[in-house]
Amino acid sequence: MIEIHNLTKSFDKIKAVDEVSVTIRENTVFGLIGTNGAGKSTVLRMISGVLKPDSGTVTLDNMPVYDNVEAKKKLFFIADEPYFFANSNARAMERYYSGIYENFDKAEFYRYLESFNLDKNRKIGTFSKGMKKQLALLLGICAHTRYILCDETFDGLDPVMRQGIKSIFAKEMEEHGLTPVIASHNLRELEDICDHVGLLHKGGVLLSKDLEDMKCNLQKVQCVFATVEEELKALSGMEVLKKEQRGSLRMFTIRCTREEVAARFATVDTVFYEVLPLSLEEIFISETEVVGYDIKKLILG
């Protein structure tokens, strides 16, 4: 488990991360979402031990990370622009990382290279940006560390590749208990990958929740009530986060389970009602609006 407590980091008197506290549980895919400059990379660099926090703590399986080799053995950090040795190829990088990470699986690495159509002898300098990200991910996956920290690594990957990586993550999570932490400025990139999401804004955490929890506890209901009284009856005692009206058609975002919606609406007279699935985007819009932010401006642009 990665525990981040009151983490603060400034660069030249500018606060990049301000009192962030997040817990990243093992065996989940944690998405760290935020605008450019929100502090995602800084948080990841502090988790990976590259940066020393000004204050606060980062522990990885109860070990401080900064300047701690034992903790670093458990993580693999892929920066937003991963560095590869000049004039090197995939083999050279494997040679380096397999010497550093004791569980590095060379056979698996070359297998993955083949499946991703990456030439092990080709100079990395000639790779496209996406190919470099794939290579960095494969190196990280094959290092078989418990945690893999990806900074904007999925941005720019095509859907097929993303799906491929997602499958590998799933397999690694199952087989080796991998915990990927993925930072991105794009909510849609993470929607199909993450289990848990932390939203960073201006260096602080706006929210940190399980996606499943958010999905299960937020319902979007579309309905036409027979009378106004029926509407009041249906909504009484419900936490309505959002309400829209188009003629007699009502749309509500309500914090409750699907079962609770069904039970309540079964007791009122409706002309029509249905419970619709919420996209991650809609969930974030609802959740952040509650705390006073306009998520569209923050992430969705």
Partner: protein, 709 residues
Amino acid sequence: MTSRNSFWVSSVENHRRRVWVWIITALVQVTAYVGILTVYLSRIRKWYEEGAYITAEEFREALYQAAQEALGFQKDRLILVVGLAFLIGIQGFSYLYDQKKVDMYHSVPVDKNKRFLVIYGNGIIIYLATTLASLLISVISAVVQGAVNGEVMAGIGVAFVWNFLFFLIMYHTAILAVMLTGNRFITLFASGTFALYEMMLYILLENMQESFFDTKDSFYLSLRPKLSAVADYLYHEHEIRDLENVREMAAMALPFYGKWFVLAAVILAAAWMCYRGRLSEAAGKAIAFPRLEPVVKVLIVIPVSIGLGMWVYGAGYGDTTLAFVTMIAGGVICSAVMEVIYDFDLKSMFRHLISSGITLAGIVIIFFIFKEDIFGYDKYVPKEDKVESVALVLNEYPEFWDENFGYVDISEAAAERMYITYLEPVLSLALKAQQEKPEEMEDARVMHVLYRLRSGREVGRKFYIDFGNPANAKLLDQIIGTTEYKEGTYQIMTDQESFDRVQEMTYSNGAVEIALPAEDGQKIREAYIKDMEQYDFTLIRNNRPCGEISIRFPNWRGYSLYVYESFENTIAYLKERKAYYPVTLDPGDIDSITVTNYHNELQEVYGDTSDIYDTRDGNASAYSYDESRVVSETFYEEEEFAKILPVIYPNNMSAIWHDYEETDSNYDVYITFRKDTSYPYDRGSYGFNYQFYTGEVPEFVDAATAYED
């Protein structure tokens, strides 16, 4: 297991990343050793084969010497070693400049200390491997060519250790610079600054002292950096190189080995501490530790600005206002430049005005400390009870040599040999000198004094003494008359051995030059030392030498003994050898005397006469000559000779203790001897130049050489 593995993996990987450094270092070292040796030896061979008149033994010695010069101590190696140390040191840790590399290197499970050790150790390996391989090839080549013996090998070894320790200091300096900066160019600048800072400060300090302090004297002691390895290399490498044998070389190099080893260790410790404390986000910044920015700014801008001002001072003929304005302007500009460099942003020019203000205040304070002599540098005269002894060099700079007839500077000789303990006259003259300006003195002469204080400190000062002031004569007698002064100034007084190896001796009265037997060296010395008992200021100021004994020793060392008419023992010896001829010539020996009157009073003076205050009548070069106003007249009559000869003095005879104005530079007197005279003058010469004593030119000469328009 893993960590050891990762250590070697990191080490090997690090070498892979440094292949180009390996190649450059190897090329440089092969050229510096193998290449230079080949050139040197082939030059000697060619010289020998083309028929040089040397024996086989001399040829072999020449080969040994060439090998020693090529592979041993060599001044030019300083640049190479500094260049390689900076290259290897900066390249090794250059990943710290790049955030992408830092992200990778600092996130992988490699111990920070081990990473430092790997990079540091690999740098040493690169230097040592390439140097030793080049040396090995060179030595094999030299052995094959018969250019190496045990002595040469040992000399190469001593030089290798010297250069390796120097490399370590420069290498560590470069690493420290990397740790303190975040950008390649700034690191290079910082490395150079670290390497030269102390030396530059001392040069600047010495320059300011010389510019602003009248009594500043670098005669005995010059300001030498205490810690700078570059200064040690520059000032001492040639001294070691010039030594006769390896044992002496090693003995002289050994203290530097110790000092440099400690210095290298201290710099390395500082570099390592900075490495430990350096944060990853320093990558790409000018200064890695922001708190150091104002300190670095002050430490750089103050000396640079003052240096600029002093340069203008030197170029502007001592204009202090201009120098001060330049310093202030330099301070403002350099402070702004430093801020721009810190932020890589022109808009930052006037940031951190407090540190800029401190910098300017520092410049002003330092300038006025020197300009106004706030700490009384020129007023310094130690209390008598604080001084153990003094050495001094007054007015003349006789030649000294060592037991191998190698040149020894008078300053070194006086500092080593002269211990005057009767201090009162020296200190009195020093105090008097503070009351008088040299340009107001009648006959100002410089005295270089070395005070040896009881505290163990030595202080050198120079001041002017008025030889024309009779009140000073007694004090000068009390100095010049002492055995300590004579023994410290004239080598003849203490050096008996050299006089067994006299190669040539002559006596001259200004016109004759009589050879004396070389084997009479000790005899002359004995006589002369006896006569020197009467030697004091009064004697030499009131009397001119009546002759001069020139002695030549091995290695072209030479010496002149001035003979005064009261030197009975010396003159008795000369008479015994029939070598003595009075300085005043006999009219019967003269064929003609030609007097040239330059009529300085009619010549036009050019330039600023205030700068030539003592040359108006003394130095004809101050005049723009109109040849038509120069009048010459030749006299042939013996009675004319009789009036002229007593009032002239030979030009080539030293009169350094006398006022320049004692002889009249308005006239040249040219004497031609009779062909039938028995006078043993040098017949190869056309004539002999003399000068009239001032105010004693006979009237008939004046009349005959008068200018008529």
